[in-house]
Symmetry: D2
């Protein structure tokens, strides 16, 4: 931590700040420049978090020099992590595709989807049983009934299964049926939910919040990991910006940034990022070329009658075409698929 | 709902769309222009939400013409609502000030604060017992112990009391101690929590999410109100933008926009919006002049040692000075305080 | 300037960085912490701008500790500046209102407006003769013809006159007719235009760019002032965010931030910020209560037939009502109007 | 254009609006729904732009159904355009790489760069002679001297040459030396400059503004094309968002969106988008996989001593490595390089 003092601060103010820091058992280094004096603080910054130095007389600003996330930080864990979800390894050499409907509607829809996506090459089935919807009057999901349908599909096809959870009650149900829990964008800073999901020990797919910085996202992963659960997979799904041509703005840079700052795998969801079916394939291609470990792609037997997010869902032939075109890109990236 | 067709769409495609709508028992009006054909849909749009018209052949875009929120909408409730929290009326002629520490630390801190803010004119005591913090290594709050301290302060001073809740467990505790529940910005679209808070019947202070549009915010209020609880007070606390001079960007326009679109009261929190103590007073003045029904202002006996958000907290003399300067502004606005 | 090295950087890398800095005649201070080493650089940072230390081996990040703007910086000019535009003083004890149509359409419109706003209390007439419009097919302004009309209005009413300039040619015309030049939001980083406007010596009204940080805005002012022209007035007019309920988001916090960081006057334009007539008055009230030195408000004799921005223009009775309601707010703020 | 009336609007208000439209020779279609009345307007919307219907009694909102850009719109020009810059075709089957230093510093630097990038496969040399810099105290470019150096490099290597222009004077110089003019992000809505650049007839590389929507960007292209110059190439270079891990946020979705809405070629600049050298290669790969027609990549013989933007510049070996890895991606996309 570095403390930058205001120009022409009195010696007394500098001494006062040094005293506040040293009282907590931390060391200081002072650099006196032509314009400003700078104080470097050495030691465990947890000791100082309750000392609001910003408002001490003469302090101009405080600059953090180390990240607050540790367990998810590549600095302290240089090897890339490979996370196991059911029978699937995420973050290894294989590109992983999670696919399925936005919302589980009935068994027939899910079974048909599971068989189709498996045939095209997907390894994980996704499907929402608890749907966070902007309006209370929109379809909210089949809840436990939906989870049971997902389990049936998993038993029949051998696909691994991931479902979103939105409450402790949903977690308690989901652990009985699925291989991986998803924390959705709107709950990325629902810290209570992160902790409870962490306690299950199941792998967690952590979507980025609509307005979350990458730093906040890795801190959200830290909440899960601090519960003793290292099995976190990150999912970039678009951030909120001024642009309205797409529903959100896919932050493709997040892929190399996460690869540099963290050892956790990262996948990309172009379906929610754009909300438009015709943009899904180019962005899926783009994500793999940027270095992503996998994709989440919405599919539906008949998107025109889907209960949720139909306009961005691919039909099965469209999904099959996408998988075929991804293969050569994966190969160029030295990945299998 | 209006459906805009692409230029030169075939008659067959138009007929297909008309058929899809009419199947659901809705009426249509067709306008054929030089460039495009437009289809107006008349009737309850809930009937059509599962029909993904965006992907029907020939459809260019869908335009919503009515808001999805109803109970919070001024169109259907022209009178401004006045919400009762404990002994306090919010949204009436009186300007309401909620004040207190970001986090409850101990009884002495809270009692001292309660007495000071009451003397200056505040009507409601705020204090966090469950703290949503970006890092899992930051202070997370005293939980039920903190709620008990808040209740003691309420009994002694007669102030009404509001506390943030972050889980069903927290709600179950809080209903025993406080007059009003706060849903924080990070949980604004934690729909499960909104419903559970709604069920308590207690008045709810609903903070705006960091990247929530005003439309989404009113839909979040709708989740609470749809549980039969009309007692919602909105709180603008800054949105996330590119500007870094302040922690968030206070969206002052939200005050007149909410006043136009909704009948619910709105207060403003300049402490969290800016994160900087010296900007709190000018923005508090500004909020009342814009028509806000009240303010939430952080105060602390000794901000320099606060466990959370010290740099934005006012000392008691600063808070007293603010209240004194607010009085003439309130008077100009024909409000009492 | 502070250089933060990566954890476990070799001594050699640190020495290399120290060498690069010392070669340029600057002093260094090194602090070696448990996790990281920090290098403080002392001296004129202009010397080091061409040395891209970010990419030297072992460097984690560079932190600036001083602002790049000097002439507009309050640190080096503690007194608030008062700027003279024609017969009007901006930044003194008087609240200044600039008003008039978005676009000059004809002499009758301008004269009628000038008389009406003067009667209500405005001191400066605004009116666009060169209109930057998103589409090339929208009305682009009367150019020099418009400037002449503005001069006529100034001669008859005694109001000072401000017009936007968008090119060197426009500047060369405008200096013959107006008291103050406006640089619009879209040209805030048109550095060529800033320099040319600076050279005229006329007072410059510098609008904030739609996505400009406050730091960039003050650097734009610096371009003008570096030409020997200290007469800059800043105008906050809304920034671009995700919110669509208003055309832009008025960043009301910019008022106290500018007051702290700079000595230049700041006015607020609620008409362009919101694009909605009914929000203009509450935000105008709010701006004065936040400490702004004045306002820019669009008015038109008949907004329904205005050639540009009619929906946000006030009628004369609406403007008169606004001025009347501003007076008690100005008084509370110890300002005259 | 569609006009949505407020609920329970009087018949008189509806008649008034119909009258305003019909006066201008436009046809109307009225749809009366349960909640609202909708008026469709048929005919040339230019006729109605000066009629501010938003403020007519009873009007709730106006919805545009057609884009304001015509010449750049794929709806009216279904074939993709191929633009010729010097000896290079942009938008055809070949992937085009523009490369070179942010700023021209001296002849040796430029010649060395030109030879190196040509050898690696680049077809166009870029280099800034007029530099728009945030601070007036940063290096501003060699101006005409720099243009001459670029011409020399073109003569020796046969590469085509592109330079940014920032004023009419710069355009007048540049036409003597270069094959293509660049309009930078900060000038994307400097409409005067767009028109002057359009008049030259030279191909124009139009960078997207930091906060420009895709719609505004295509309208900026329209300004150039309306001068009779169809030779526009678009360049996505990152937009401004809340995320600070990268200098800007590369909006990769702009590639498929532009391909759908316009016939103009689009290239991507990952150097300015990220500001970080290690992210340039993954995002370059990603852009080609998304369907971009080319790239702009900063290179420098010795980035550590570059006068501008060194940290994001590639060394020649890094650039060569990037070109080698792009080749198989180009092949997968059925493009040559």
């Amino acid at each position: 931590m570095i403390i930058v003092m205001k120009p022409n601060t009195s010696e007394e103010s500098v001494k006062n700040v040094l005293g506040l820091i040293q009282q907590r058992g931390l060391e200081t280094h002072v650099s006196t420049g032509e314009e400003v004096t700078i104080i470097g603080v050495i030691g465990d910054k947890q000791k100082i978090c309750s000392c609001n130095l910003e408002i001490a007389e003469g302090v101009d600003k405080i600059v953090e020099v180390t990240e607050s996330y540790k367990l998810s930080n590549r600095k302290f864990h240089p090897e890339s992590s490979v996370i196991k979800a059911g029978s699937t390894q995420i973050g290894g050499s294989e590109i992983i595709i999670m696919s399925g409907p936005c919302a589980v509607e009935n068994e027939e829809q899910v079974m048909e989807t599971a068989r189709a996506i498996k045939k095209s090459g997907a390894q994980i089935l996704r499907g929402g049983a608890y749907k966070p919807r902007t309006s209370p009057y929109s379809f909210q999901g089949l809840e436990e009934e939906g989870l049971k349908i997902m389990k049936t599909a998993r038993q029949e096809t051998g696909l691994s299964v991931v479902c979103e959870v939105t409450s402790l009650a949903a977690i308690e149900s989901a652990v009985k049926y699925v291989d991986m829990l998803q924390i959705g964008a709107r709950n990325m800073q629902n810290f209570y939910l992160l902790k409870e999901a962490g306690k299950t020990g199941l792998p967690i797919l952590l979507k980025r919040g609509l307005s979350a910085t990458i730093d906040e996202w890795l801190n959200a992963a830290e909440y899960i990991m601090a519960e003793g659960n290292p099995n976190v997979v990150l999912c970039e799904r678009g951030i909120r910006t001024f642009e309205t041509a797409t529903r959100n703005t896919l932050d493709i840079s997040a892929v190399p940034v996460i690869k540099e700052k963290s050892h956790l795998p990262i996948i990309v969801d172009p379906s929610h990022a754009t909300g438009v079916r015709s943009y899904v394939k180019p962005l899926a291609m783009s994500a793999i070329a940027a270095g992503a470990d996998g994709l989440m792609i919405e599919t539906h037997p008949n998107p025109a009658i889907a209960l949720s997010d139909g306009p961005q869902s691919l039909t099965f032939p469209q999904f099959d075409d996408l998988c075929n075109d991804l293969r050569p890109i994966a190969k160029v990236m030295n990945r299998t698929f």
